[in-house]
Assembly symmetry: C2
Homo-oligomer: 194 residues x 2
Amino acid sequence: MDSHIAPVALEKAYRLLNHGPTVLVSARHDGVDNVMAAAWACALDFSPPKLTVVLDKATRTRALVEGSGTFVIQVPTVALLALTHQVGTRSLIDEPAKLANADVKLVEIEGYDLPFVAGCAAWLACKVVPEPHNQQTYDLFIGEVVGAWADTRVFRNGHWEFADADPSLRSLHYVAGGQFYAIGESLVVDEKTA
Amino acid sequence: MDSHIAPVALEKAYRLLNHGPTVLVSARHDGVDNVMAAAWACALDFSPPKLTVVLDKATRTRALVEGSGTFVIQVPTVALLALTHQVGTRSLIDEPAKLANADVKLVEIEGYDLPFVAGCAAWLACKVVPEPHNQQTYDLFIGEVVGAWADTRVFRNGHWEFADADPSLRSLHYVAGGQFYAIGESLVVDEKTA
């Protein structure tokens, strides 16, 4: 990880997802790494921090998550727009060189046997909380966040600070058909007068 | 509802939430209406469309949802910033005039016995899919979307079109401590070359 990356306290980890970014889901099992995009990821609890993510049965990443019981949710940036769309529309099953073709660079974090995608704005290492009924019926997985990190150029002191940073570091928010939005303007309510 | 409101086909309803907006949850039971804000709402399925939302046991809205088995998820706009923060930080239990104090205007849609919040960009009428274990253990509710509408000034032909509209109509994305972001710039990947 480069010099901008810092750990995020677990009780603040939900804030990395609170504004609803599209995420990359990565997982490793039996020597295989994969990465997919997911718009359907959401915080679920504060402490211990938990999140939900929908993983379709057709995805290779889901099989890796089921095999290892672990995964990473990461927040890609505008600079990773093409990568995010590619890993969200292609499958490792049909395209063994998917990650190389999409220009995905994986990095390691000491103490975690997981593939982290370089260049993201935030990373949440997760352990599956097994809920077989949700997984089978709804493709819905619950993860407990066991480690969190962010790029201090855009997340510091427990808040996203996109305004002062390069626009290429903003989070992505997918709609459909190749259409994304970047996150926009900061709006702060004065809690004393609100 | 005003003249800008149009129904959204149910199979496109997930797109109203796909970009991760903070939502307002409203519900009606036994003559009581309430509205709360929730950052933890997420699409779950395409067809029939389903979504998840986290409703804390301390909220009055949750009791109304449990009582009626129905609720509305709606997408508030920048123009509703103060309202969204107020209904997210105050409780009807402590403040019986919460909705009037927060300047919430409710409107009706024919055929739905539900309170819809005026001025939002989109509305999803939902029926609870009972999952008692999720509700008790995780405060996680699953809703099947049975009706969807959007403001055609910002959502048409199945896509959000924020770029051409007044910035006051953009969706809100909550972080914490009164800090929100508006959704920002549109970014389109050419699916033929990606």
